[in-house]
Symmetry: C2
Subunit: 120 residues, 2 copies
């Protein structure tokens, strides 16, 4: 059994669509994913889990109902469970996401941006 080295930028270079996370690894029962972000996502929350965003490139804005944050390259944030949030980016952002397997990207909101995680 050989342990893989996963290069985030190489993985991100393999697709171009936005808001469609690709799984690059599993950590126990969590998915490690990469995603391209552009424009506004939907307001949503995940009732049962926190969500980790680590930005690889660009500046990711996350709106909350009472404040907003901007997460840049080499920075991360944890969106706590149950907290409504809206990721968005005026210019393209690439990011690493970590959350339990099976979490739906649009959380409680659903809609056309809902994406089934694919393996890369």
């Amino acid at each position: 059994m050989t342990v893989d080295v996963i290069d985030l930028r190489s993985k991100l270079a393999q697709f171009a669509d936005h808001w469609a996370p690709r799984r690059v690894a599993r950590l126990n029962d969590y998915d490690v994913k990469v995603v391209r972000i552009l424009g506004d996502f939907v307001w949503h929350s995940h009732e049962d889990t926190d969500e980790l965003f680590l930005v690889v490139s660009g500046d990711l804005t996350i709106d909350f109902r009472d404040h907003r944050i901007v997460v840049g390259p080499g920075q991360l944030c944890i969106v706590p469970r149950g907290v409504e949030h809206r990721p968005r980016a005026d210019a393209e952002v690439t990011a690493l996401l970590i959350e339990p397997s099976g979490v739906v990207n649009t959380g409680d909101a659903g809609g056309e941006l809902t994406s089934v995680t694919q393996d890369l």
Copy 2:
């Protein structure tokens, strides 16, 4: 409640010792930690959990009993549960670690490099 933006390099600048991970965030029941690595760690394994290493700076070698990998900046690997490994670095490496809270850094090996995770 304000969501924090966590800058990995800023967090790493707050300490200088090696092999002593600092927790910078929690993701459900997982710890998100940063660590400075220099020299050879002990051979060890974690029977009950995988472990994620994401390198921030430097080149991290991880020896396994039958192969080795080198993980560079922007690259990650998942060391599977139960697999013996030895992290090491000839020049200083900084990295992000993610694993369940309470995991002991030296796993089944113990010894003087065992470190209790501190908050940063």
